[in-house]
Amino acid sequence: MSTQIPIIEQDKKVEKSGTIGRHTLRLDGESKVTGTVAYTDDLPFEGYYAEVIRSNIPHGEIISISTEAAEAIPGVVAVVTGDDLKNADWISPYVGPAFRDQPVLAIEKVRYVGEPVAAVIAERPDIASLAATEVVVECNKLRSVTDVNRARKKTAPILHESGDSAAVFEDLATVHRSEEPNVAYTYELKVGDIEKGFEDADVVLEGEYATPMVQHTHLEPFVTVASYNVSNNSFKIITGNQTPHFVRREIARIFDIPSSKVEVEVPQMGGAFGSRTYVRIEPLVAALSRVVEAPVKLRQTSSESFDTSVRDGTQTRVKTGVTNDGDVIAQEVEVIWDSGAYADISPRKVKKAGYTAPGAYDIPNVKVVSKSTYTNKPPGVAYRGFGVAQTAWAVESHMDDVAKEIGMDPVELRIRNITQDGGTYNGVPIEPHGAPQCLQAVIDEVDWFGSELKPEEPKRSHIKKGRGVAVTLKATITPSTSEAIVLLDCDGSVNVITGGTEVGQGIITTLAQITADGLGIGIEYINVNTPNTNSAPFNTSTTSSRSTFHLGNAILRAIDELKGQLIDIVVEKQGIESKEVTVEGGLVKSPLGEESIGSVVSSYFVGGGGTLIGKGYFSTEASSGDRYASAFWMTGATYAEVSVDTRTGKYTIDKWVNSADCGKAIDPIRCEGQILGAAVQALGHTMSEEMVFESGQQVNKSLLDYKVPAIGDVPKVSKVIVVESGDPNGPHGAKGVGESNTVTVPPAIGNAIQNACGARVTELPITPDKVLKAIEEGI
């Protein structure tokens, strides 16, 4: 832990736009502060409007859906039900990235309250809304199950009898349905000899921890426009989606048309956080458009987002064997995921988050069992942190419980066991990741070992102060592919085309910075295109904080190729050796002189213009067996300081420090924004956010009742530390930074509360009633 931690000097001034490591005004900034930016719903639209009719029971057989009254309303064009899709020869009506278990509209059965059962298409949105209330769905209620433990019993109602593997992704190629009732997929990891590890341990401690379902609450609801063109059997889909190429593939597959006949355009998105991954409402809107052979728009309400995609709840059991000296020598983690009614990407989540369930620690003997479980609830999908937020809540809380048990400082325990840069993890070598540096950064910032919190004065002795820390190690999606096209015009300006989507993270500007630097030109000459699958080359996803790393690398390769072409042109023109020619600062330089890159392009083509095209492909390699390789590792740490009122259980966060390793900050201010943004989102998961279900129905399905952090909830004393460990494979050493603190905030706060008053709250969110109960029960 003696390594010098590179922490960047934060410079809030814009000095030289486009320069790597300097703050650059976002290219989409002007449009966003003037309100001229266009989200999907803002685009001009002529066509029909849809409204979805949803199941009001958690589990049932559909007996009948009566649509006549709705269809009789003037302005209603059609009412579509699962029956219309089930027997149609124009659609395979099941979708999903891992298993094709989710129908576009419920077919024969409904499996959760809020599941789309039918859709009304009308000339106006208000007519569609009214008509939707006239559709009557009659169901035969089935027994439902909303608890993951009950769901796995032999007597439990079964949600899915079978499920076809989607066979799209290599890392899910071996994913198969589990034999256990309602278990979609089980991942197991065994490292070393777990039994011997526990035998050799001086202390063995067990704990159980839980997280509820939560929702992304991106402020722009789901909006999709689909236009079916009957003349050539093609679709245009405009949608806020993080995976346009997957949407294209899935739409092409379900309608059995070539993917070139599916154009997916992604405008700016009003937040996503994983919610807009794979397919959401796109197949439904495409099907509706196919039925009426006209453009259809579906704009859901923000309440309907809770019906569409959520974060899995978890129940986690951790058992740890530790020596009296504080060496963690064995750890067993069992995570049961409440994945809702459809698997979506849960198998990958279960595997990937399962792999790092033992936290950021190098433990010689490990056993992980991680199970995705079907329940009669909305489907769990990707959410910032991709499962690690849930597993880390368990393991990082547990580490403090272990420290307490053996009488060791919890930070000392972490330092002793943390996996080192260039060390091993789960028994195999791990690439440099920066976890020790992130931990060191927060404990140095607060002088953890050299300071103590000052207790309250005696008359306020009911207020107890405490502090806590958490650290994380998280993988990124691997393998994956990103491609980029860099178009150099004869005036020296550049268009960058990728499938990277702008969800708010600033990827457009980050890619422009990388391009500007690569060609040595000003960022004002660069345009980064809005993704459209008709022109954009493949990109696996804008998820997993992968874009700077993967798209950045693809762009660097495209620029290299472009430079090679520029050199070839000059070599041929001047009859010199290619090694004598260089491209830098926007100029092609040779012993015979220098020429601007635009002018070289101009000289090469005739007819009033020309475009030189550089392309770059970047793919990462798959892992083998039960290991999960990662193209890079996300790491971060949080320190939290709390005051707990032991009479009420209410607590305040007096100070917090969040660090995350970005490898190299392409733009330090944007990295800070990702770190704090992730932390505050997790503050909501810590303090208030929970989808509350009663009899299978969510009862707080609105921002009125589902409380996300407001400005006054954020700790006033705050420090964000951008750690730059330099990723060996990242563009300029950069890697993703958007998720680490979504993981570390809840356990850091939980640990601080325990440190303050001895109360261990094991289930998120940490509400005052739970704190008070834990205090009273002396947990």
Binding site: V33, G270, G271, G506, G673, L676, L703
Partner: protein
């Protein structure tokens, strides 16, 4: 009855929108955000939660902060409405309002969906308090949700704009 519901009674309203008089006939059940976005194609005002909680659709009516998703459009008859599209024009002859510049400088936005509402609420704050403290800003912006930034950059941006406007 059904037809009556769809075709609500129509009213002509006259109000000042971003400095210009606007006369329009609208159905009685139209909300202000629907009037702005659908009838007038002013898309800068976004609609988030639709229940008056998130603050995305914040506009100023006679200088006061209003959630336009809860306000019936007929209620702005005779009033002065300011939306994000009119914000820059309220400040001297500059192209942008200082808040717009400072939100860019400090990245007081990410996805931008809450930004028009956040900017309008911030303008209302600066209209009544030229030199707000951090706590003044927290209090005044408490009904504007941002899910991306973590808010600190918004506080910095508002303070910076105040400084610029007082210079």
């Amino acid at each position: 009855m059904m037809d009556n519901y769809i075709e609500a009674t129509r009213h002509e309203i006259k109000f000042i929108l971003n400095g210009e008089e606007c006369v329009i006939e609208i159905p009685a059940n139209l909300t202000l955000v629907e009037l702005l976005r659908q009838e007038l194609r002013l898309i800068g005002t976004t609609e988030g939660c639709g229940v008056g909680v998130c603050g995305c659709c914040t506009v100023l009516i006679d200088g006061k902060v209003v959630a336009s998703c809860l306000e019936l459009a007929v209620n702005v008859d005779g009033k002065v409405v300011l939306t994000i599209e009119g914000l820059a024009d309220t400040y001297q002859d500059s192209e942008f309002h200082p808040l717009q510049d400072s939100f860019r400088e400090y990245e007081g936005f990410q996805c931008g969906y809450c930004t028009p509402g956040m900017l309008m609420a911030s303008k209302a704050l600066l209209d009544q308090n030229r030199d707000p403290s951090d706590d003044d800003i927290r209090e005044f912006l408490s009904e504007n949700i941002c899910r991306c930034t973590g808010y600190d950059s918004i506080i910095e941006a508002v303070k910076s704009a105040a400084k610029e406007m007082n210079a």
